[in-house]
Subunit: 436 residues, 4 copies
């Protein structure tokens, strides 16, 4: 069993030159460490429009450093290649034209080797910047550098979710790495934890780093509610499947039911039945479904339908944040090296809610929207979050492929309700009746 | 200028047999009155999947009475035709299979005449029910009858929005009716009205009718905010167009910008430039754009981008409801017979917010979501609202094709953010900063 | 049993003023006679892009008279409505912009009544032209007038095929007319008729009217071949279905097999299985499949796969024309009033090939291509045929909804290989081995 | 200037064990030689559904040897990997299920190295077969081995056309190889060469290898015709572009015009205007358009529209074969190492038609159809040609990426009329009037 570490940096806005440099090196190194198990061919493939080739991720994060830090710090800075700005811009309209997202998999060059050279080029310039930039200008750049670190961490998570999707499209079922199969000790029973109604403060307020979408901190009225003590398991979700969940329209949102029919969903993504037994593709290859693990790779639609079937609901993001406040930020994050959710063993049971952090992102019933008084950052980085506040739902808590140092109680992830290739799962809630 | 009447029924849950009967007759008659200007061919066309043929609307509302009232009241009740249940079910999975929505325009039979016969058949059975059903059973059915009245009113609005779209697809620009052009008196200037932060009660609570999605009534924390005193006008929106609003990606939500490009939007729906002048298709035919009228037929994306351009935002639905509470429910509704939004004349100016009711539905920034403790009604009518709580935004206040007797301060309409064929417009808001 | 008449006009190029007038009246009257069974609503619907609303057909043929005859004869001629040129142009780029084909069903106006008024308007002008135009100019216009007659006859056939498709989309299964069910006498057995190899003359040469695509008459080398003595029946085709024809990829052309899978074809168009029995939608409503009737509403792909399964093939159009030369042009045409193919009764058997004319258009294996030396007519009518010589196959012999006076041995109809809504069927051929 | 060699093997059906072995080695080696300029990443990409990754081609041709030769010769033969049969079957329904064609670019494994190992594995087994198989069995297998050689040569051409497309999708414009730019000597003028009408023998007859679609040899009546003495050049095609060819609907087939509009074609594939000058992507990178080179990468639609604009037409395949008979099979084939069409220099002019072989495949106006008496080979290889005889046009003469030893006067290549990524060009024809 893993003894999950406490987060370190870069969640605090460190003004120390040395600390910044170290964080930069660590984050950059981890991006490359993730790629160690890959062969060159794996870096190239884009298995669906939402997925980017690993090679693209590696280059895009470097482009981010170039565009928002190096170009800002050094007026005469030039990229390694004049076309890279076009090729590796993701979605920043302010920065100029860009290559069409669904075509990222058509680009064989720059090669993997050239991509790493591009990283070296950027690293060298960043290193020079860390060493030589005068203190006041480094201080002024620290917020955007810190954003760059978190940006690269976000893409580290995407690299793992995307390569999982790429490998899953291959009938040879290649494994990304070897990992131990979860032991099958007893799972902690699901209990309901009760919270009182009140006006709560929600959103980030502090000295450290947070994304713009986590603020402003503001008051919210929360009705009384109950939260499930742990994540829903594969075994519990199987009962839903076997009860005809995927064939019962009244359990589903209207858009969800249409998606079920159009996509012919019959189980979570990566599940398939072989010889009458449910298997799932994992980063360690194809394995039998382990009933004790948290269910993963479900869409919002499936999470909502499952909750409906259980006569429960998903939590709001305010409820989740109320419950999370005060808990240690520990869990099965990318640092554990498992890259897969693990069962909540009865032996590790505690009183409060468990598995709030790590394992799987928890769908909330909250549409992704600006907090009261929200204003995007000015300049191009203002496109980071605000323009996506539509048709998406908030997820909380991080997953087994998130960095521990990347997460916070106020962290708001968001995906459209039909997205399934992220490590997304279910925690139940109930209650919320007002007493007028 | 119209002296807008106060609403009458059926907003109150009347248990009086006589009153119920009269309301039924009035509502049913108004559905047919709306169709008076139409020729037979107009009833048949479905100009896009969202639009239904007039003939279908007329039959579908009758199907509703059959399915939820007559069948419930009279065990042996049979429809006029065994296939009508299949043809005229809109989206009730609980009731059985149904005809595919985008194919409603392929069905030439039943004819318009047969459709009216179907209405007569249902009216006769309803009449008999009103006359002969014993008091207690009538009382038990009153909620669903009242729902039926509101349901038919909703479809009356859709009949007008849909026939407008049908006629707009015809290069001959046929007019639905003759209506006077708005006089061009001065428009009241836009002022900002300030509201205090507090915990407010939101949602319906009362004796009368309300949809399930308007409750439960519950407490919400609202930050301080300001609301525009009137709707945004065509003239104001034209400034946005002329400033390149439709060509500036940074003003738009990401999904909105994609839609602008894919659909090649350059102005609100029904606008077109002829010989250098902006015209718009109305229910009275093609006319020059009147700068004083409220802008109409804009999507959520356009409303949001416009607000962004004005350094403002849209209101939340809670803010709107706070501002609306205490105001008279008066305005330019379908009863005025104009079927088009009218300018807010300076002469009619008052202190509080104006045009809150009628003219155009006002997009709010609130995603359509269940209120805390929401539970859909049991049975098939539980599919009425809850299953649409995803990927839609709430609109408030009714429009010039809504019935006055249909609307309430707590009324929640909802449409996807790209919908434009409803009478939808813009009211600005600003503020919302928390003071922690 | 029907005693099929010999064709009369307008296959001969009559220069007689009186005869031309009479032909015009007959053809125009028949277009309207076909519509007698329709209700107003039926005229409006476009059930798929290939289908046009009846109302559109009625107006388009009038547009043809206006555009190619009246405008040519009378310089100052004006259409009844300035927009009709835009609305009722089918595909003539030379004539100007036109309404988008798949949107013909969105146009409720002009109404049916106005459409008939448009026809009256054109008829009156044509009548005046017939009465008053000087002899030499009438003579000069006779070719285009004759083309106009044949054009309207082509649309008469399309009106029947299209309304059949429209009614078939209606779950109420409305019938266009009442027709007697075919009696079930014995069907003539299928024999093979042998033809010698030789250089044959193919294509039209004569005094009468023919389309440009039927010429120039030219020599073709035809190998020895055999032709089936009659059309393939429903019963024979059912054996193919029951032998798994629709599930056996090796029987199909590659494009055909993809179509079978994408469209999920399991039988000819209009067939459906009800309670284990094959039924088909006809212009007389839904009926059990009669095994003795010629199979109908099959695509080229199905015709080819069936032939493959029978170790035979389809004829080339040259082979068909060789076999047809010298036969009387008689058969089950639209004049018989059945509007459905009829069985080839054993009692009516003859020595040569039977059912060559009428009943169903016979798919040939010949791609639709220009004959050697082909040149399209100059001017806009040059767009009549030549530009479609790609991705289509030739069909021969006319069908039960073709006019007898419209057909010739050299007549070349053409449709894409996946088209099924025309009355199209199968005649087998075999042989063709060269002896070098 | 290149002195084009005469073809050697494998066009003759050699029964010599040694010769077969040598041919096998040569063909296999050339597949790998073609890949020498590629980096690993290039092998992986599928830039559109019609294109296959180089890696896939290399594996698929090996699969062909396994499936049709090794498995037939050695009952216990097993593939290197049990899934390769599924992954590398192209379109043989008889052989079993297969991986979906448009998803070939999603498969990062087997890697390039593993793909070459697969080739080695097959080569070793083939070598053993060549060495040890008894004479009579080798003789029996010679036809399928010869087919395998030609099959691999076809894929060699596709590897070059496909990698050109892959590289063209990259904004970095990478070059496949360095090649000398064509010298700009004068181009031979276009003359018309006249052929007499007659009954000609068409199709393959001989001892050597030919595909099944080239027979049976049969008599065809050919009208008198004239053929252009050389291919149409870029310069001539530019006149068509500059005369508004891509904006004039009356020049185009109906399907062609729709394609021009939907795809927004304005020039041949790979052409783009940069700073007012036409450039083209070649296998040597982006270059200015050379007016003297044969125009290339045009669809059938463009070839037909160009001919129409020149008041000419394309040849039929019979005409082409009549003209080609008796000419030496020489030209700019893959052996010249240029991989690009070259100008027809005036100095090399001769009396008969020039450039009939090599440079570009010449579109004919003949739809791809079975010759009289055609029967596909039995077994799975019967799927090689026959099932594609629909919606395609025949091309003749080979291209600059075809192997000289692969081509014959009777060789029939075929592609759909909108295909442009092959090396396809235009030769004009005219005449064909019959004299009856
Ligand atoms: Fe990014
Ligand atoms: Fe409804
Ligand atoms: Fe026509
Ligand atoms: Fe192949």
């Amino acid at each position: 069993m893993v003894d999950y570490a406490q987060p370190k940096t870069p969640s605090a806005l460190t003004h120390s030159r040395h600390a910044l440099t170290e964080q930069y090196k660590q984050v950059r190194a981890f991006s490359e460490l993730i790629c160690k198990p890959l062969v060159t061919e794996d870096y190239v493939v884009q298995s669906m429009p939402d997925v980017s080739p690993t090679k693209w991720h590696l280059a895009h994060v470097s482009w981010f450093w170039e565009t928002f830090v190096l170009s800002a710090a050094q007026p005469g800075y030039t990229s390694l290649h004049p076309q890279y700005t076009y090729l590796f811009n993701s979605y920043y309209n302010s920065v100029g034209a860009r290559h069409c997202r669904p075509k990222r998999g058509l680009i064989s060059r720059p090669t993997v080797t050239e991509t790493y050279q591009y990283r070296r080029y950027v690293d060298e310039h960043m290193q020079a910047l860390f060493e030589h930039l005068e203190e006041s200008r480094l201080g002024a750049l620290t917020p955007i550098i810190t954003l760059g670190l978190h940006h690269e961490q976000q893409h580290q998570e995407l690299m793992l979710t995307d390569i999982k999707h790429v490998l899953s499209c291959n009938p040879l079922n290649p494994a990304y790495h070897e990992a131990p199969v979860s032991s099958s000790l007893s799972v902690a029973p699901l209990r309901w934890i009760t919270y009182q109604e009140d006006v709560y403060w929600i959103g980030y307020k502090g000295e450290g780093f947070a994304f713009d979408n986590e603020g402003p901190r503001h008051k919210t009225y929360v009705q009384p509610f109950q939260l499930g003590s742990r994540l829903v398991t594969n075994g519990e979700y199987l009962e839903f499947i076997e009860d005809g969940g995927y064939r019962t329209p009244t359990l589903w949102l209207s858009d969800g039911w249409r998606t079920v029919q159009e996509q012919q969903w019959q189980a979570p993504l990566y599940w398939e039945k072989r010889d009458g037994q449910w298997c799932m593709m994992t980063l360690s290859g194809l394995r039998a479904v382990n009933k004790d693990e948290p269910v993963c790779h479900v869409s919002y639609y499936e999470a909502d339908a499952y909750a409906h079937w259980k006569h429960a609901r998903l939590a709001t993001e305010a409820e989740w944040e109320v419950a999370a406040s005060g808990l240690d930020v520990r869990g099965n994050f990318v640092e554990s090296g498992v890259y897969h959710p693990v069962p909540m063993q009865i032996a590790l049971q505690k009183e409060g809610p468990m598995q709030m952090y790590g394992d799987v992102w928890e769908w909330t019933q909250s549409a992704y929207a600006p907090y009261p008084g929200f204003r995007p950052a000015s300049g191009a980085v203002g496109e980071y979050n605000g323009k996506f506040m539509c048709n998406q739902f908030v997820l909380r808590g991080g997953s087994c492929v998130t960095s521990l140092s990347h997460i916070r109680p106020t962290y708001r992830n968001f995906f459209p309700p039909d997205a399934r290739w992220q490590f997304t799962g279910i925690r139940l809630a109930r209650g919320g009746e007002a007493h007028a």
